[in-house]
């Protein structure tokens, strides 16, 4: 079954993304890691949708919706990163930790 290979690639991308999200501190790098997870999800979505002729086009449509909406999220996060760089001259998320729990 060919879809299985795409799912393996998707799982590897997912692992790379989670690793990046957990180990990186730079905001842009964390955003890129989250985007890798997002793309892994889209790949899994499309490869699973391709298995069923009836559901396939619906899955493709949802993927297109998801891609266009994630652009909005990326836009907001990049603007937050710009605001952070203007105020702090750094993009380190954890250096912000002013409050101690």
């Amino acid at each position: 079954m060919e879809a299985a290979w795409f799912l393996y690639v998707s799982a590897i991308l997912f692992a790379i993304g989670i690793y990046g999200l957990l180990t990186r501190r730079n905001m842009i790098r964390m955003l890129l890691s989250a985007e890798i997870i997002f793309n892994a999800a889209l790949l899994a979505f499309l490869s699973l949708a391709s298995l069923d002729a009836g559901y396939g086009p619906v899955g493709g449509a949802i993927v297109v919706i998801a891609i266009s909406l994630s652009a909005a999220e990326v836009g907001v996060i990049v603007s937050i990163a710009i605001m952070m760089f203007r105020m702090r001259r750094a993009l380190d998320v954890y250096e912000l930790r002013k409050f101690k729990g």
Binding site: A34, F45, A66, L69, I77, I80, R88, R97, K98, F99
Partner: protein
Amino acid sequence: MEMVIWSLMVLLGGVGLVVPTLDYLKGTKVSPYLALLATALAIPLVGSLIGRSGTLFDGTIRVSPLATYLALVATVGAFLVTVASMVQARNWSTSPSLYSLLLLALLGVYFVLYVNDASVLVAAWALVAVASYVLVGIRKDEDSLEATAKYALMGVASSSLLIFGIALVLGVIRTSTFQVLNSVPLGVRTTLLLGILMLVAAFGFKLGVVPFHGWLPDVYGGAHPLIVSFVAGVIKLISIGAFLRVLQPLIPAVADEWFIIMAFLSVITMFYGNLAALVQRNVQRMMAYSSIAQAGYFLIAFAALAYADSRSVALQGIGLHVTTYVLAKVGIFVGLAYFARKGFDLTLEGLSGVGRKLPLSGTFMAILVLSLMGMPPLLGFWSKFMYIFYSVMNVAPWLAFLGIVNSGISVGYYAQVIRYLFFADPPEREVREVESDLEVYVLTVTAVLTVLLGLGLVDALVAALS
């Protein structure tokens, strides 16, 4: 019914999109009043859907009594936050955007609560998520910068997990509509479970369930309390709505695993939230950890959804506890915003004797805290003890027991707040409540509703829910 949804879209979306343009370009200050009008009109509009059920828009939206009830609670919460913001946000340079985002996020909350199709879920989730990142950072100061950076990064991870979970679940059920799934072939059962786990993680991020809670204390503890009252009181309903609409139909196929996952998550969430709250000195951060603990109580009810004989009580419990939670969190955070505006520091010592200087708001604040704690005549007692804990009594008494133990632990910090509010020496300076303090009215409404619903309207409420 389609007309009602259309009117809500035009009312909230239209006002939300037009108002900031008008205010920024023309320099007028009409946005607070229009937002107040829009949320006030939305209450009867949503109210007209009470008791109705059916699918709309080619099956992408499904109206049901419980979802309508949650939408009504969300609308009332948004209305109260808007009222409080008239005083709080008056001098913010970004206040037109604040009102626009409040309305758009509320619209997104409706769609998540009524969702019946994956495409609507993705769109509505993104609408609420993006609006809430901007809302948290809308003050543009250092505290909200930290809060919004963490919230947005965790949020984008949560959205990615959501897409991943939907991909796996839809790959198994082979349709984009969420419908009841009684059993799956053995070969794809693991895929379905993996998808459900991803969805639990995605919704758990927004709800503040423990392995995914890292952002919550910084956001709820760092952002402006007025914004937190909206994020904690209204936006959090999207994860409860998504649990009910997206995951609940899948439960029968994986009932036993579902119960174990939910019970485990609820136990660690409750203990973490309550124990971490015990050591806080900052009341706003303490309430943030109390939100995590409340998420644990919700998870008990979600665990009870696994079995047919506990399901109906659990659904009623979720509806009732959402009422308790929204009234209490909106009231408490608006109250904290009020104290901060009156010049009090939001630490326990800083709030010493506030209840004596500001007797009305102090008393109502204490009532809301007691309701979260689960004091008998108040609404929180009924929702937490008589419905949520009771719902698991037959299937897992130990889970109900651990919940009661946690309620006991929580008395430790809730009582601390009341002790400092009333039994510590008030500051020397002169502060008084005046008639133009709109926050006091919000506190009055939430506290009076908590008492009234607790005193006798619980039965009527439950009848409306089922």
